[in-house]
Amino acid sequence: MTNIGFVRSELIPAKPAPNRISGPMAWVQKNLFATPMDAVLTVFGMLFLLWIVPPLFNFVIGQAVGPSGTVEECRAVDAGACWAYIYNEMKFFIYGFFDIAEQWRPNIVFALGALLFVPLLIPKVPFKRVNAILFLLVYPAVSYILLAGGVFGLLEMPTQKWGGLLITLIISVVGITLSFPLGIVLALGRQSTLPVIKTLCVAFIELIRAVPLITILFMASIMLPLFMPQGTTMDKLLRALVGVTLFTSAYMAEVVRGGLQAIPRGQYEAGASLGLGYSQRMYFIILPQALKHVIPGIVNNFISLFKDTSLVYIVGMKDLLEAVKTKNDSALEWQSSNTATTGYLFAAMVFWIFCFSMSRYSIFMERRLNTGHKR
């Protein structure tokens, strides 16, 4: 047998990789022209970009009429987006019919909201409990007083005058806040061993999830007043809130249920063996873990809800989209062939910014939770 022994006397230092696997040329080779098929796709993709980007750029920026432009410029044959229209109607898009002199009130509400909400989103900021109580209990009361007025010498401002982005934000924030506890109760009820309670919860969740939001809003708008004792009048905003909250809570229940199911049985058993009762186990052991798991799901629900607020026109509220549509149809002084497109483009950008940042946040939380879970 030959001697097969081998011992390395000197270690080989790392060498730089050959050019064809790193560096910009390698990147282009690998990501754009790896195979003939890839090359063809790349060429088509480039052609598509060439076809779509220049006109888009021209419309949005190149030939667009800036904020200080006039309607005549907007009506020019080759004019792009009419940003002057947006600039001039901006107040309506944000506040609706809220008296201009009183618009400092929603501004304070916006600022306070941001101040309290942003720290809640950042995991590192301390005092989460105090922060949450302020945001969930104190803030709504303060906001309502500020917006509705009628006390402390504030001019009364009926909800019919609220509109635009203000309404969109109010409905989505209130909707998510109220539907959250309701969703938890429904989810726990769905897991109950008591048949009556389980059936009720399952029926409610499945019925709501089966029908479109638009029918729930129809119901809230037309049937809810019928259900109330004679003589009660229901605020339109309240109707929208009831509809949206019921709708979202069913979806929230399903998200929470997912979290509950992810908790291993051992957790329940450990809690029981310590002598903790049902509600103690839920409150101290199960829900804190389960809810942490489903933060991304909750954020995704919030995104859907935020988009769905555009449907509240059914109960007669003027949310951001409805405000834009109203102006598109009625602002005769801004009538041009691009007015409607510009209006919808603006609304789309606002919705997109909100939804996209929320979805990034949800991905961020998901990553954070995943790594936390593994190690």
Partner: protein, 266 residues
């Protein structure tokens, strides 16, 4: 050196009752380098495996052992040097890759059984679709190998219903059904519970006794000692030391090898 190697060679012969090693190289790796983008994972690998040889690759995690054997059936692409398997050099040519993969079986750390197919279907899939073996015949072969790994009664179950050890034995049988000339084992016992390790190792030992050409990446040093013709120690992407098991375990030369062995053989 010569003295000791002579005696150990005798011991090895008696201990292993292994068939003679052929002289035709089954795998030749010449001056092979590999990078993951800018990270130099494998450096100047030179390795010849003779027909019927059984090689164990050891080394700390991240030393490139798995990457090396994954290069042998081109699950990973190398950038420099040559890999010749059964006389076929691995290049980007898909035909050659297919040719090599037909003859090289591989067993993974996490089994990678197809969860949607029964055990029998897992075993017959490749023989039918790659080798074009009639179904009846493929099933007979599959049952034969299931008997060899001692779980014929599980043929119609799904992978999810089996224990880890059973799944790994199925995975070995799945590779054997292709009648490979070479078997690669990528840490086949690392994901198993301790009491299941033996049942898998037993199968591997019996394969070795039949003269299968094998390359195993494993931490099972007892196994290495019992069946390997040669143990290779890798660190930082290079082969640091290789020798017959007796020499390797009881007379390591390189400091890095000594350190590794002292940590693993306590």
């Amino acid at each position: 050196m010569t003295q000791t190697s002579q005696t150990t060679a005798d011991q090895v012969q008696s201990a292993k009752k292994a068939p003679a090693i052929g002289t035709r190289p089954a795998i030749e790796i010449i001056g092979m380098h590999k990078w993951y983008s800018d990270f130099h994972v494998l450096r100047d690998i030179n390795l010849t495996v003779q027909d019927g040889e059984r090689i164990v690759i050891a080394g700390p995690s991240g030393s490139g052992k798995s990457t090396l054997i994954r290069c042998v059936n081109r699950l990973e692409e190398h950038q420099e040097g040559q890999i010749i398997v059964n006389g076929v050099e691995l290049t980007a040519d898909l035909k050659r890759i297919d040719e090599v993969r037909r003859e090289v079986g591989m067993v993974f750390q996490h089994f990678n059984l197809f969860p949607h197919l029964t055990i029998l279907q897992n075993l017959t899939l490749a023989p039918i679709w790659v080798r074009g073996i009639p179904k009846v015949e493929a099933e007979a072969t599959a049952m034969h190998y299931l008997e060899r790994v001692k779980i014929p009664e599980q043929a119609n179950k799904f992978p999810g219903q089996l224990s880890g050890g059973q799944q790994q034995r199925v995975a070995i049988a799945r590779s054997l059904c292709m009648q490979p000339k070479i078997m690669l084992f990528d840490e086949p016992t690392s994901a198993l519970d301790p009491e299941m390790v033996k049942e898998v190792l037993d199968v591997m030992i019996s394969l070795a006794e039949e003269g299968m050409t094998m390359i195993c990446v494993t931490h099972e040093m007892g196994f290495a000692h019992q069946v390997a013709n040669r143990v290779i120690f890798m660190d930082q992407g290079q082969i640091i030391e290789q020798n017959e098991p007796e020499q390797f375990f009881f007379n390591p030369q390189h400091d890095r090898t000594k350190l590794f062995l002292s940590q693993i053989l306590r």
